[in-house]
């Protein structure tokens, strides 16, 4: 069974939610990104979102835009991200989800990408600007390679779309809990519980909530109502602030652990 699906299944049996941190691959560099993945696993990550840097990230706020820019300046590419996953797999079996935009995958070749990513040890892919109605070839290629296809849902998604997205998703459904781009927010979206319940009902899949979660308190609150909690910009910001710090890995691990513990504390 796919590592992402297996992880959600075992968490369900334990009655706890998944902690899903995001980092941008290649920031500060690929070698350290691989080390950061291992640090996040030690901190208690259940699935790690590994961001593929793109020159025009329309879905991202300034923190992740800048991380992508730094990574590209150091020569990051989808090919190098896949190679980094291959290296990580020498040491870890943590479930890995690539978080990408469509054009790098299209340029790589959808079939070749699915084959190479699966062979390297990627477990699933979330493509921000590829809604399921445009994803026939992509879905077929990823299914064929045994990769999970995670799609976004939004507060603006209609019932019909949620059903469609539920059909096309495997592993879990990602809920963008607020209108806007990625970034840290002071308060959680209002009515989150009702929204998550609606998405669970219409998609029939585990729901991970992201966009705007930055503190252990918020993570704990979300863990109480969804199967997964995604934290991105807050971690990427810590990586950026400590890029030159010899204790980068320990610092990120400690911050991630505070989030993981908060997620797991929830009954």
């Amino acid at each position: 069974m796919n590592r992402i699906e297996a992880r959600f299944q075992s968490l369900k049996a334990q009655g706890v939610s998944a902690f899903i941190p995001y980092i941008t691959a290649g920031d500060p560099d690929m070698e350290q990104s691989a080390q950061l993945v291992l640090a996040l696993e030690r901190a208690g990550a259940d699935v790690i979102e590994f961001g593929v840097p793109f020159s025009d990230p329309v879905g991202d706020g300034i923190v992740i835009q800048e991380a992508a820019q730094r990574a590209l300046q150091r020569g990051a590419s989808l090919r190098k991200v896949i190679n980094t996953v291959r290296a990580i797999r020498q040491q870890s079996q943590v479930p890995l989800l690539l978080f990408s935009y469509f054009n790098p995958i299209l340029a790589y070749g959808i079939e070749a990408f699915a084959r190479d990513a699966a062979e390297a040890g990627v477990d699933g892919v979330l493509c921000v600007d590829l809604p399921p109605d445009e994803a026939d070839d992509y879905k077929a290629a990823l299914d064929g390679a045994g990769l999970c296809t995670v799609f976004l849902t939004a507060p603006t998604s209609s019932d019909d779309r949620l059903r469609l997205i539920g059909e096309k998703c495997s592993g879990f459904v990602y809920y963008v809990s607020r209108l806007g781009v990625t970034g840290e927010q002071v308060a959680l979206a209002e009515g989150l519980k009702q929204s998550v319940t609606r998405i669970q009902r219409l998609t029939g899949k585990p729901v991970a909530v992201g966009f705007g979660i930055s503190t252990p308190e918020q993570a704990a609150a979300v863990a109480g109502l969804a199967e997964g909690v995604v934290v991105g910009s807050a971690i990427v910001r810590v990586v950026a602030q400590h890029a030159e710090n010899p204790a980068l890995l320990e610092t990120v691990e400690a911050f991630a652990k505070s989030l993981a513990d908060a997620v797991k504390r929830t009954p």
Partner: protein
Amino acid sequence: MKKYEALSTTSAKHPWPDARGRFGRFGGRYVPETLVFALDELEIAYREAMADPAFISDLTERQRNYVGRPTPLYRADRLTEHLGGARIYLKREDLAHTGAHKINNALGQCLLAKRMGKPRVIAETGAGQHGVATATASALLGLECDVYMGTEDIERQKLNVFRMRLLGARVIGVDSGSKTLKDAINEAMRDWVTNVQNTHYVLGTVHGPHPFPMITRDFQSVIGREARAQIIEAQGCLPELLIACIGGGSNAMGLFYEFLGDTEVAMVGVEAGGTAIVPGMHAARFAGGVLGMLQGAMSYVLQDEDGQIGQTHSVSAGLDYASVGPEHAMLFTSGRVEYTHASDQEALDAFQLLSSMEGIIPALESAHAIAETVKRAPKMAADQTIIVNLSGRGDKDVQQAAKFILKGEEI
């Protein structure tokens, strides 16, 4: 006398986009999920509006009395004589209110925003013409208006920045990426994704996710509809050739669309050749681009082998964009339209030629179309006709052009 259909046969012979917003393999709707509902809502509102006689008559009345349509189809006799070949007509979109064709689409979309009950509009702008047009239509209709513009373009087009502010719009500088049109679009999309419930995004060209390429084309097709009637009126037959410059491609689609059914009419789209056709020095997507997806649509995209979007260059901010409208991509692959490019220098030469020969200072964008005319007209017979879309006036470019033409001397 050649035979022709009195009315355009385009819609029968070129029934695009399809129900999924595709022009063959191009176009589509590649956006984050949050925007899907807004695009659905927009398409429904647009189709209802276009079927509503009250909306059409309001639009038509404003086009006539506010924009100043129809714009003239002007026979450029001195340019014709100078080049010594085909008879040259200029479709004078530079005479439309605000000085460019962009008002056709901005007015249509702002009326649509109003109809949808959205009190705020946002726009991206490169040369500033679409920003000015949207700010103008917003002032006319009482809408709040924010315009995103790359900081490099703000530097190149200071006059238009002040015009937008004067019209009551807020101009928001975009300092990310290449600091030009592409980055302004990214930032406008980020704004739209955040404020989608009360905001309409007035996308300025025939690019972006469906239904934008269709809506913009339809609002711009008034150019070709008028030109086709005007040329038949003037000479009793259709022209041999249409020429238009292409950034995103809205003025070209606007001129070409009504003629697509007229198989005897040839068409050329002119991209920005910049300083050389090597990566980073131009914006000629059909010369250096490959299939890709940028900002919502599948089309030709200037990019590296890893799928990262390439840097572009043109002396003209309005043509400086890494992708091109999906309908153009379709017309390129089918061969219906020929695409070529003019260099910065050729455009600057054409800019001066038209100014001195006809007393018309063209926008640097439109000067690319004039540059192609300079190459084509002498090779054609005197009884043949070219219509060139003079998409905008050049006042905004005088300072930029002076920098190149005077090579550092004082104006």
